[in-house]
């Protein structure tokens, strides 16, 4: 259409290449969004140029809202003429942008959106993290093998697609491991923003599960674990990657000690040389330990940059083709190889809260 | 006591008062009569600051009233019995009376005045605890007058106090007005019942579409043919 006459690049300004960062900066998921933005910005600072041109990040707030998300994505593509997009935290926002990037033929690389639907049937959406089914399996294995659990209860955030998905994948994996159709004693629900979970917890505790799996946001999860302790419930809690934020510990304090979860990356065991650069620079700039999703935001930027380099062009479609070919790319959060769906095949990391810190426990390799 | 000069009031584009001049002397009963919409209520509202004057002046005991806020009027001794009763429907009869004395601090005297009101309106005493909103129209009117008296006004202004009242009560209200007047209260009265009003008035003004057309003593106006024709009707006078 209109783009054709300008030739190869969609950028209007020849000196800069624009990459969109499509994240929830405000609203319910602002915390997660901010972490990914940090990663992308750090990467941009370290690698500000490609093809001899300056790379500029254009940050668009999807306001943790699906309608806004679609508009924000459209705006990035059409008004800002970005050549690629990073994001978003929260699979539903990525899904809302899915049609736009596909129709406008601009590639998007999600950092931490783990819902299978994000990339499914969409040639223009990629991600640098693993998927919920894998994460569910990892945690089910951990509960079964390491904690010796045979009966589990689940408390999930029912209006959060991530939590609902992860709970289901965990359930399937755990039932298969135990061969016991009743291995999941109970699945109980709560809503985003709830603060009282006492009755759900008491109900669960009556069934005496070995472990409680609580996929959901760190905010509610920290409160859940805290309230369980206050009610005298002494059952181990395990969860997913969203727990890995400083607030999880701030809010949960001594009560979240011993909580175990899976995540993408650990700073204790740098995986690649890129990890070391990332860690060094991040600590220097922010004076704290990075979250996994920050590393993923960083990686998403690098993958795009690498693709532009290989394409030797700023034509979004050519960039897409190169992103799709990404193989054994050394990112900060591990080696990235994208499969035919555009999903990264990677290892997962297990961490535990110990003495007010997230401590590395184990690495789980991808299942082939 | 109260002097109004060249007062103009407008609601948006509607000019309700087009420069009226009016004088209320201490200790008198002054009445304002006129057709519906002539601007009678507006005059009273302007005095207490509920309607904004566009130009002109209102002075009360030498003080410029246009600068005063409505809430300070009772302190100055000016009380208005508003058109349409406006009792506090969610308050009891007793509380309505008490709120009439809101600014007063002399608790003892308030109690005495309460008794006085109950003497004037025995009906109200029967209904001390009833919510004012459920009183009948006439009862509410009595309550509104009683409430105003509780502030011990020097100048009592009443906007159509006989509206919707039974003949017996109308007579009673006029007797009460005379009674209050005897106790030294100056009265500015608006009435549709021009006949009765003129009978007790020392001084009367006729208002027509925002201007004063006739003024005189009550008895003068009662005899005026034009007034008879326009306001008193054939079956009267």
């Amino acid at each position: 259409s209109e783009k054709a006459p300008t030739g190869g690049g969609a950028t209007t300004d020849d000196d800069v290449i624009k990459i969109g960062v499509f994240e929830p900066i405000t609203g319910a998921n602002a915390a997660g969004g901010a972490l990914e933005v940090e990663g992308a910005q750090l990467a941009n600072k370290l690698y500000p140029e490609v093809l001899g041109k300056k790379v500029e990040l254009v940050i668009a707030d999807n306001k943790s809202d699906v309608v806004e998300a679609a508009s924000a994505a459209a705006r990035l593509v059409e008004r800002d003429k970005v050549v690629a997009i990073i994001g978003s935290w929260g699979s539903s926002y990525s899904m809302a942008a899915g049609d736009i990037v596909r129709n406008q033929k601009v590639p998007a690389v999600a950092a931490s959106a783990t819902n299978p639907l994000v990339t499914l049937d969409n040639d223009f959406y990629f991600r640098v993290c693993f998927l919920d089914p894998f994460q569910g399996t990892v945690m089910a294995n951990y509960a079964y093998n390491n904690l010796g659990a045979r009966k589990v209860a689940i408390i999930r955030e029912v209006n959060n697609d991530y939590a609902v998905g992860l709970a289901k994948f965990f359930e399937d994996a755990f039932v298969e491991l135990t061969g016991d159709a009743n291995a999941i004693l109970e699945v109980t629900n709560y809503n985003t923003g709830d603060q009282d979970f006492s009755s759900q917890l008491l109900n669960i505790s009556q069934k005496n599960p070995d472990v409680i799996f609580a996929p959901g946001n760190f905010t509610e999860s920290a409160l859940i674990i805290k309230q369980a302790k206050q009610l005298g419930i002494d059952i181990p809690f395990i969860g997913g990657d969203t727990w890995e934020t400083p607030e999880f510990i701030d809010i949960g304090q001594q009560d979240v000690e011993g909580a175990v979860f899976s995540t993408f990356f650990t700073s204790e065991v740098p995986i690649t040389s890129e990890s070391e650069i990332f860690l060094k620079e991040y600590r220097a700039q922010y004076g704290k330990e990075p979250a996994a999703v920050t590393a993923l935001g960083y990686d998403a930027y690098l993958v795009i940059l690498d693709a532009i380099e290989r394409a030797g062009s700023t034509d979004p479609e050519k960039i897409r083709d190169e992103i799709a070919k990404t193989k054994n790319f050394p990112g900060a959060a591990g080696i990235i190889t994208l499969d035919e769906n555009g999903d990264a095949v990677k290892s997962a990391v297990i961490k535990v809260v110990r003495n007010g810190e997230f401590v590395y426990l184990d690495t789980i390799e991808p299942i082939e | 006591m109260l002097k109004i000069e060249n007062l103009c009031v407008a609601y948006g584009y509607v000019e309700a008062l087009k420069g009226i001049t009016l004088n209320v002397e201490e200790g008198k009963i002054v009445t304002l009569i006129g057709a519906n919409g002539a601007g009678k209520s507006t005059t009273l509202k302007a005095i207490v600051g509920l309607a904004k004057a566009k130009s002109g002046s209102i002075t009360y005991q030498g003080k410029n009233l246009l600068q005063e806020e409505t809430k300070n009027m009772v302190r100055n001794g000016i009380t208005l019995v508003p058109e349409g009763r406006r009792v506090f429907s969610n308050l009891s009869v007793l509380e309505n009376l008490k709120i009439g004395a809101f600014y007063r601090k002399d608790t003892k005297k308030i109690e005495e005045d309460l008794e006085w009101i109950y003497e004037l309106f025995p009906k109200l005493k029967e209904r001390t605890w009833q919510q004012a909103g459920t009183l009948s129209g006439g009862e509410q009117q009595m309550l509104a007058v009683g409430r105003a008296l509780m502030s011990r006004p020097k100048l009592l202004m009443m906007d159509e106090p006989s509206l919707g009242l039974a003949p017996l009560i109308v007579k009673e209200i006029f007797n009460i007005i005379k009674e209050i007047h005897k106790q030294g209260v100056t009265i500015l009265l608006i009435e549709q019942n021009a006949n009765a009003a003129l009978k007790i008035a020392d001084e009367a003004y006729v208002l027509e579409t925002g201007t004063i057309t006739i003024k005189g003593t009550g008895s003068e106006l009662l005899k005026d043919d034009e007034i008879k024709k326009a306001y008193l009707g054939e079956s009267h006078g």
Binding site: D61, V66, V67, A70, E78, V164 | -
Partner: protein
């Protein structure tokens, strides 16, 4: 209508059609999306104005009706394969799996479902008055959302629906918006519309004049819900992805805002306001992003846009209590009178 007015109206409509043709071929998808949203919000605003502005019912349940319309339309237009892909956690109920109908009937069914629900809800809640009605309808809209979150095998729960066919385009949205405007104008000026206004003015008097309160309130409520459902369906098939969280109270509030700013009880006001608010919100997006002034870069402050937006809103509400148009409507006579009185107005409009 005067002959002059008919001609002017025909000219305006033709100009609008030409504009849409132009927009379709020359505007980028972002601009087209905003235009689509404007038209959809016009429909939503008008439907809410019928209930709140013209009938005086304080209803805050719009997001619920929109949710019904959006889900029904989406589920009816998605091909079976897409549905199966969406429902990967728990399969969709069989009776929904294979039904696929064209867009227009799907929209209509969406609207009708919303209307049926309004009818069921209305029977009990329309007996309530004022704030109580407001809070009860708000409650129903939340209940709808919570039910949609929990009915995994019908709505896909929290996962929402994606890959909904992007059928909504300028012709659909503007076409339906125009039909809605015509419908509302005709309704409001009919005897039924006047009866609704009478209810708004004074329920007791209206009832004493022989107007059945319940029946007429229900009429407004159900018709409003129908158009809200249609608007919701258009919105869902514009976005391509919906989920229950999207239909929170804030969505109702956005629509409420449009009608209050435009003038409760004014169709013209609602239309203008829908366009101004929808595009205005997009313009304000600048505030959240960093601004490059050439020599310095001002960092964007996330959230500032909404702060500015809500202050603007409050200022407008405080200083223009009756909104842009009050209860007045556009007429050619009125426009000419305005132009004659204030020639500068014309200049400003043309200058832009």
């Amino acid at each position: 209508m005067k002959k002059r007015d008919i001609i002017l109206t025909i000219i305006s409509i033709s100009v609008l059609i030409l504009f849409l043709m132009f927009a379709n071929s020359r505007f980028d998808s972002y601009q087209i999306r905003i235009l689509n949203l404007c038209a959809i919000y016009t429909i939503l605003g008008l439907s809410m104005n019928l209930i709140n502005g013209f009938t005086g019912l304080f209803s805050l349940g719009h997001a619920g009706f929109m949710a019904i319309g959006a889900y029904v339309t989406a589920l009816l237009t998605m091909p079976a394969a897409v549905k199966n892909q969406n429902f990967f956690l728990q399969p969709i109920v069989p009776w929904l799996e294979n039904v696929t109908v064209p867009f227009l009937p799907a929209l209509l069914i969406g609207g009708i479902m919303a209307a049926i629900l309004a009818f069921i809800i209305g029977a009990p809640v329309l007996r309530l008055r004022g704030d109580y009605l407001a809070i009860a309808t708000l409650g129903f809209s939340e209940i709808i959302r919570i039910v949609f979150t929990n009915t995994q095998n019908i709505t896909n729960g929290a996962l929402g629906l994606k890959s909904i066919p992007n059928t909504t385009n300028l012709w659909w949205s503007f076409g339906l918006a125009a039909l809605t405007i015509i419908f509302m104008l005709s309704l409001i000026n009919s005897s039924y519309g006047k009866a609704l206004k009478a209810i708004r003015e004074d329920e007791i008097a209206a009832e004493s004049m022989g107007i059945g309160l319940f029946r007429h309130k229900m009429l407004a409520f159900v018709i409003g819900a129908f158009f809200a459902g249609v608007g919701g369906g258009l919105l869902g098939n514009l976005l391509g992805a919906i989920n229950p969280v999207m239909f929170r109270f804030i969505l109702t509030f956005n629509v409420l805002l449009i009608i209050v700013l435009g003038g409760m009880g004014s169709i013209t006001g609602t239309v203008i306001s829908a366009f101004v608010v929808t595009s205005g919100l997009e313009y304000l997006r600048v505030l959240d992003e960093s601004i490059n002034l050439g020599f310095v870069r001002l960092p964007g402050i996330p959230g500032l846009r909404m702060v500015v937006f809500s202050s603007l809103l409050m200022i407008v509400v405080i200083f223009f209590r009756n909104g842009l148009m009050g209860t007045n409507e556009f007429s050619w006579d009125g426009l000419f009178a305005l132009l004659r009185k204030r020639p500068s107005f014309l200049k400003r409009e043309v200058g832009r």
